[in-house]
């Protein structure tokens, strides 16, 4: 809206959505944009659906938006849910991670498998990677959020230097190297997914 782009980061509480949003925000600032972010903490954190928002542009007023240009989802069902936020022809970057919610664990509901069809029908560009596997390869499954951001570089107009600066600023020093590694692997995997489209 008015030259402002919205990135929504969706996932399950505890997956590192807040850190991921902080990195995207830093990258946007490093790329020269005005940025505002918004997040929900507290009760929602405990394994519930969470969404953080990063908005960037020449000048940003509102910290939230009901409509996103890019969705970055650290879990498949949450990515599917976040399609509701995504504008037609927008981009969904998601991790193929599956975390079943209670109703699915108890066998009351089925885990939905219709993400690709729904996205295709709405001409949504998809970048999907196995972020957890890549993070494990980099040294810790907890870096899956950052691996996913590596894939998201193909959907966001921030240069390599901006991303590098963002990682330095947002990630604690003692796990920075591991996260750089995960980020690079995610970026590579994301590029391959793009070619495949």
């Amino acid at each position: 809206m008015n030259g402002v782009a919205t990135v929504s980061l969706a996932g399950v509480g505890g997956q590192g959505i807040i850190l991921a949003a902080a990195i995207v925000a830093q990258a946007a600032m490093a790329a020269g944009f005005d940025v505002k972010t918004s997040e929900v903490k507290g009760m929602a954190q405990r394994g519930g659906s969470v969404v953080s928002t990063v908005r960037y542009g020449k000048q940003v007023w509102s910290p939230v938006s009901p409509r996103a240009d890019v969705v970055i989802a650290t879990e498949t069902l949450e990515g599917r849910r976040a399609l509701d936020l995504l504008a037609d022809k927008g981009t969904l970057v998601y991790a193929t991670t599956v975390i079943a919610p209670g109703s699915v664990l108890r066998g009351e509901r089925a885990y939905p498998g219709d993400l690709p069809e729904v996205a295709r029908a709405r001409q949504i560009r998809i970048i999907a990677i196995d972020a957890e596997a890549l993070a494990r390869e980099a040294g810790s499954v907890r870096a899956a959020n950052v691996a996913l951001l590596g894939a998201a570089t193909h959907a966001l107009p921030f240069g390599s230097a901006a991303w590098e600066r963002a990682l330095e600023l947002a990630v604690p020093a003692r796990i920075l190297e591991l996260n750089r590694q995960a980020f690079a692997l995610g970026r590579e995997a994301g590029a391959r997914k793009e070619e495949g489209l």
């Binding site: 507290g42 954190q45 405990r46 394994g47 519930g48 849910r81 509701d84 209670g102 664990l105 066998g107």
Partner: protein, 599 residues
Amino acid sequence: MERIPFLSGNEAIARGAVRAGLGFACGYPGTPSTEIVEELAGIEGPIVEWCINEKVALETGIGASLAGARALVTMKHVGLNVAADPFMTLALTGVNAGLVVVSADDPGMHSSQNEQGNRHFAAFARVPMLEPSDSQEAYDFVAWAFDLSEEFDTPVLLRSTTRVSHGRGRVVPRAPVRVEAAAYAKDIAKYVMVPEYARERNRLALARLERLRRRAEESPLNVLEAGTTDIGIISSGVAYTYAREAFPKAWFLKLGMSHPLPYRKIAKLYHSVSRVFVVEELDPFLEGQVRALGLPVVGKEVIPSNGELNQEIVFDALEPVLKRRPPRRKRPVFPPPPIIAPAPAPVDDLPVRPPVLCPGCPHRAVYAMLRREKVAVMGDIGCYTLGALPPLLSLESCVCMGASIGMMAGMNRMMGRAAAVAVLGDSTFFHSGITSLIDARYNETPGLVIVLDNRTTAMTGHQGHPGTGLHADRSNGPAIDIAQLCQGIGVPVTTIDAFDEPAVKKAIREALAGRELRVLVTLAPCILLDRSPHERVVVDDERCNLCGLCIDLGCPAVVAGSESIEILSDCTGCGVCLAVCARGALSLPAAADERGARS
């Protein structure tokens, strides 16, 4: 002829409450409210207590209301600041049996540190308010207040002031009110104000206010009194008596129910006269709302906003205004009812993902046992509030920080036994559980208080508290021992490992059988603070018949597979599921090895 009692407003409120079938009353002393509880304490019938403070008093009153007793909670104006936390959320949960909060305000600060006008609290909490102007009304209005409370499922604010509470007048007694028994029914969506349920109750409260406004239009408590001069006066409480004496020939809109305002009755007054005054003490509470209708009114431009009024102040202020030319007639503009945003529908009917207790959370261990007991579980605010959600459904109230113990106390006082237990976390215990525990001890209330001690303020991100000694800068200070603290106030206390199922079960059973107050501290650190490597539970596929008992614990690491249960990688090996499995299909590797070695 029978002698007509000559009562203070406070005595009249007390007797009016008894007449209305009062079951429970409590409060904290504060001028000018004190004599209500004192009077009640001398009357046979209701259970009456002084509480440790107004917050605990209101929470105890809520418990009594839940247990089915009409409850009256009294305090002075500043006391409602202390009780504001339960008050604001009680406005969402509503009540079971009627619950009336008396706020006795003190314009002029005869005996107070400020003179805040608590009529704002009624608007703030969106609850109905009654304002008696003398002892007879004080007596009569209590029954109206209880009826409104039950009919509209809301607390009612009965607002008095010094001259009503401490004034005296003759009070004609009325026939006692017959009250239907209101048994307690567990209703998690009504009484547990986690965000999801609170949003819905908030919608209901907004809609309720408009229904109450329609009631205020019809209510005989709001009287349009015809006069013989072209002056109309809107007033309530004792200010009405001043205005009545100052302008005996004026028209009056006398508001006994002064929130929400009956807009149409106000418009009617404007049809009858060309000049309208609002006479009220302290803030322009009524006047501002009349102005918002676009109607010309004179009030605080000539009447002081501080201190008490009297008939002379009112006359001297308004009389000069009569020399002004009457204002031009205007049509009132009634504000439209508020827009209430509906709950967003689930996206594409996808399975929702409410927050859950983590795998390995020690709270789950306690709920797994507690939910098998026939007790009402009064809850509190923290991660453990999630025990109210499916599939655990083990916690049935959450009003505000520290409310669990007071609510348990109110229920148990009315039931005369440990019908309810309180469950709260360590940080919440220090926040405001301590005061309620002292109160329960002082009032000799039976019950069991379970402190789920996970050694942190977990929900908000593991902050320190007095029980851990951890400061904001992560440095260590003195840690206060919960058990010692309980012992210090004379409450027997047991500390048990939260995962020691037989011991926790035994402690709960013993406490519930007794008639004394006890504390059980279930101790185990928050699993998110425990970074040690965990072993995972193993499933014996032969034994598992997918009965679902373990799934019913709501652990995110336990999944229904096609043939048997599957345990996910985030299992911490806490073993709670082992204890519920009837077929011995679940085990921890170490235990499985032992069994293998024995056979």
